[in-house]
């Protein structure tokens, strides 16, 4: 069964450093998402992406964040200068269509630890 994959599974970085979290969505999907979950808190939407541009982003997704689909398979989230409060699980998701009839498939997540 097709699945969303994410690398690395765990990333440790120092405050102020740049990190890139990578995702490989399901191959025929067109809509891509990033979510994060701070330990003990709810899953929060960060950004959605379609046709090589951001469709929607939350207040969390400020100028420190960017997303890119550099090739036909990868979907990346970059945090330019990490802060301690960026420590969280980051989940990538993809769906075949946007909208209510199509569910998002989630990857296993990348745990980001900022020290």
């Amino acid at each position: 069964e097709p699945e969303v994959t994410q690398t690395p599974s765990h990333q440790v970085t120092q405050m102020g450093q740049e990190v890139i979290l990578r995702c490989v969505p399901i191959s025929n999907h067109l809509y891509f998402y990033w979510y994060r979950q701070i330990l003990g808190q709810k899953v929060e939407f960060l950004v959605s992406f379609y046709n090589n541009e951001i469709s929607e982003k939350s207040e969390i997704f400020d100028d420190q964040f960017s997303v890119e689909r550099p090739d036909g398979s990868n979907f990346t989230l970059k945090i330019r200068s990490t802060k301690l409060e960026d420590s969280a699980m980051y989940f990538c998701a993809s769906s075949g269509e946007r909208g209510v009839a199509y569910e998002q498939y989630f990857g296993p997540g990348t745990r980001l630890t900022v020290t």
Partner: protein, 112 residues
């Protein structure tokens, strides 16, 4: 601003009994609701969904009920099995479906 709320952080149920997980929302524009199950160290997995034109959707042991006037939905699992032990998130979206709002999750433990 928590638009989707799950007020019970945890729930314990005996194997074979019914598990009822509840979710409340505040935004009347929400039109589509989903339940996800999450095991530790894994991403959320889609479980079941319901659109606002229905008040019930059933898939095997899982049934979701929607009460739009009360802005409330619930997930029923019957009979509950130990493998159902996980964190359950409800999520909601408007009809466009570009962004989903998640509740904080309910940790279900099914006791053998």
């Amino acid at each position: 601003d928590q638009q989707v709320k799950q007020n019970s952080p945890s729930l314990s149920v005996q194997e074979g009994r019914i598990s009822i997980l509840n979710c409340d929302y505040t935004n009347s524009m929400f039109d589509y609701f989903l339940w996800y199950k999450k095991y530790p160290a894994e991403g959320p997995t889609f479980l079941i969904s319901i659109s606002s034109i229905k008040d019930k959707n059933e898939d095997g042991r899982f049934t979701v009920f929607l009460n739009k006037s009360a802005k409330h939905l619930s997930l029923h699992i019957v009979p509950s099995q130990p493998g159902d032990s996980a964190v359950y998130f409800c999520a909601a979206s408007d009809i466009i479906g570009n962004q989903f709002y998640f509740g904080t999750g309910t940790s279900l433990t099914v006791i053998p």
